[in-house]
Symmetry: C2
Subunit: 493 residues, 2 copies
Amino acid sequence: MQLKVKILRFIAGRPISILDEETAVKLNVHIGERISIFKDHHKIISVIDISKSGFLNPGEIALSNEIISTLNISEGDIVDIGLAEKPESVILIKKKIDGGKLMDSEIRNIITDIVTNAITEAEIAYFVSAVYQHGMDSRETESLIRAMVSTGKQLHFNGNVVDKHSIGGIAANRTTPIVVSICAAAGLIMPKTSSRAITSAAGTADVIESIAKVEFDIEEIKNIVKKTNACMVWGGSLGLSPADDKLIQVERILNLDPKAQLLASVLSKKISVGSRHVLIDIPFGSSAKVSRSEGLILKKDFEKFAKKFGLNLRCVLTEGDEPIGRGIGPLLEIRDVINVLKRDENAPKDLEGKAIFLAGQIFELCGKSEKGEGEKLAGAILDSGKAFEKFRQIIETQQGRVPSAKEIESRLGIYRKDIISEKAFKISSIDNKKMNLIGSIAGSPMDKGAGIFLYHHVGDNVEKDAKLVTLYAASPARLKSAFDLFKKSAPII
Amino acid sequence: MQLKVKILRFIAGRPISILDEETAVKLNVHIGERISIFKDHHKIISVIDISKSGFLNPGEIALSNEIISTLNISEGDIVDIGLAEKPESVILIKKKIDGGKLMDSEIRNIITDIVTNAITEAEIAYFVSAVYQHGMDSRETESLIRAMVSTGKQLHFNGNVVDKHSIGGIAANRTTPIVVSICAAAGLIMPKTSSRAITSAAGTADVIESIAKVEFDIEEIKNIVKKTNACMVWGGSLGLSPADDKLIQVERILNLDPKAQLLASVLSKKISVGSRHVLIDIPFGSSAKVSRSEGLILKKDFEKFAKKFGLNLRCVLTEGDEPIGRGIGPLLEIRDVINVLKRDENAPKDLEGKAIFLAGQIFELCGKSEKGEGEKLAGAILDSGKAFEKFRQIIETQQGRVPSAKEIESRLGIYRKDIISEKAFKISSIDNKKMNLIGSIAGSPMDKGAGIFLYHHVGDNVEKDAKLVTLYAASPARLKSAFDLFKKSAPII
């Protein structure tokens, strides 16, 4: 069928054609399907989008810039279109759904098509679902990690390059900025890339972004690390294991987290950023991502695959039965971090203890400290003020500024509500998942000042009429939604 | 976070918000995810789309008409947006992925969200995948059929209402227009809705569309049936079992066809259209959709569920080892149909025989004929010319006209190529799947005159230099692609 081209000049990141609804019905094509577009003797495969807005007339087609330039098309040109064969990776995804094993080259084919946008979200969903249902064996997992690394960029740093990762799920728990500052102050190289919130109320990138820039290109990151030994940036725009970013988007639709993809996600990022010594924090508990026994299995898997790629990796299982620190939400969390770094009396002891523990583990892992001596060194660096100085240097190099307590206070959500205990009781649990959800509903991480401040931890005796938490939000509607959810879900028992 | 509304006036069929890419990155939201939009004290959940075309500035948001009218928004208004909770059906899909059983109300919830566009294609892909992996038990399948019927419209006709359906997969095989004409000429009511091509080169709706209109609304269809006893229309725009149409879109991405959904698809359409007596044609064979043993199991399932919904249903297993008829492609197929109806000497005998068999089965099923007498009656009606008269009446009532042989010839693709046998041989097989694919590549069903004309069937002795097929296409590029694929895939052995 012949259609007339209307030039709209849009860059879709892949070849996209827009048809009006009437034409799409006639051609029996649907959003996300593919057509071949023929012009003269050239052909390109394009994914379809359908417009109902009336800017196209029947018989017209709008083509993304990728197609316009490849086929050398002008406004009003006539193109011939037809149904297209599916890319091979779609057939491979079908094979995996049917329980087949994928070869190294087949996994690379799928991952390449994910990175180049050659396959759609629904097709990626079928892939994620297949891996979730059938798992991946060791050989497939290894291929997945290799494909995810090789389809992205890679960094290399000289020196003792260390890294940490938490599998997440715990509310607050903002140890990373403290650990990075201690390690970098000790002379280790720590080019830390972090995610934004995935399942929690805020990710490390969201938290740092409340006081500094977190989006840089590869060259800028090299300069930041050269100057300060470290960085604390968002990993999403760097092109390190870009397949991982896409897979996570589709996984989070159903909160699926197939183990092979969790392993590949973490390890591909660490390999790509050039880390040599990697500490993995696996918090376990009833409202954490994994139970203790699942955590132990995961630890073995991480260690097995790290060895195949020459990473010196250690996993630590940590208690994850309640939030760590007092603030949940970007500015509330950065306040906790700063209080620990500047040795303020209001610093949350649990956060401080965990950060010292993790930094100590890294010191021992990379040979900076003898076995059993790491925490002592980490604590000394923290007490000396060198970690705080290093933190300030990194933040300023990332075009930010460490705010005063007063400044933070003034930037917190102006709509606030204290939640008061209706009776005297001893706290037996604080649910991470519920706390994260309440924090999100309050506006975190989009509103940097939104979130929850916790007055108590598990084991505390709370009196009647005492404050349990304060909710912060940027609008009354948000505050009300968060308050209603707190009352309904009862996260503190 | 607060954003400024830009009014674009687009009707998306569901609440859609468009953000520019920079804003989307800041909010850490992706295409297909949901946000809550707050204005005053009202809130609406919207799916996100992201524009890279620069028509939105950072900090702006475009909202579909569904949102504009619900929240009563004007150009330049400020709305507050945040992450939204997932709809309950997404949680139910997760339950099914994990192997859980779905309750009647839960299936209804998912199907309702599919029909109202409340869930995305990737989410539907997860649902299809879950049903494909875990199947559905009898209770779930029954609930699925009921939900698909009740979320759509339903038709009711007086009289002896009959229907037929082929599970498809065979190239050409255009029995439907002949069977409908014979049955309607015999006084039966046959409101036949058909699909466009799904896996074959053309669907019945595509074929009829080459000489008449096939898109009507419910009232128009009632009038056509009242006047002619029958219709031959496209089922897609009628709102009969609309969930089926959406599910098929997502299934065909990977050509998944989970049995529960196949059963529900066919039966929900037949129940919705008001059929009482239904004949199901199950072609089996090596290049058909099912083997003989799979066909027998499917037959039992169809009969079991039909009984639950009070349908008088019969399944016939037919040989599906090669295309039936000579033409593959809309006009080539309608030529075969017309030749059979007007008792032309060029009429393909296999197509004629199968149509008489199916019509005879329907006569016996609905009590029009005694057992064993159906084919005789069907053949007599065909020979009498009454079926051709009825066909002409239906086509004309559907605003079409029955063309002469000469007219059809003049409308066939002008780019043609004969494929010549390179040696003398006896044909042992003609692959349906390959033939369908070659027909599609040639331009069918979009180009009505494109397709394949077959000179021989299985068992024929072909001499050296004899014609095997003629390919028809609307452009030289199409003709070449189809020719290359024919040579590469060798569909005739």
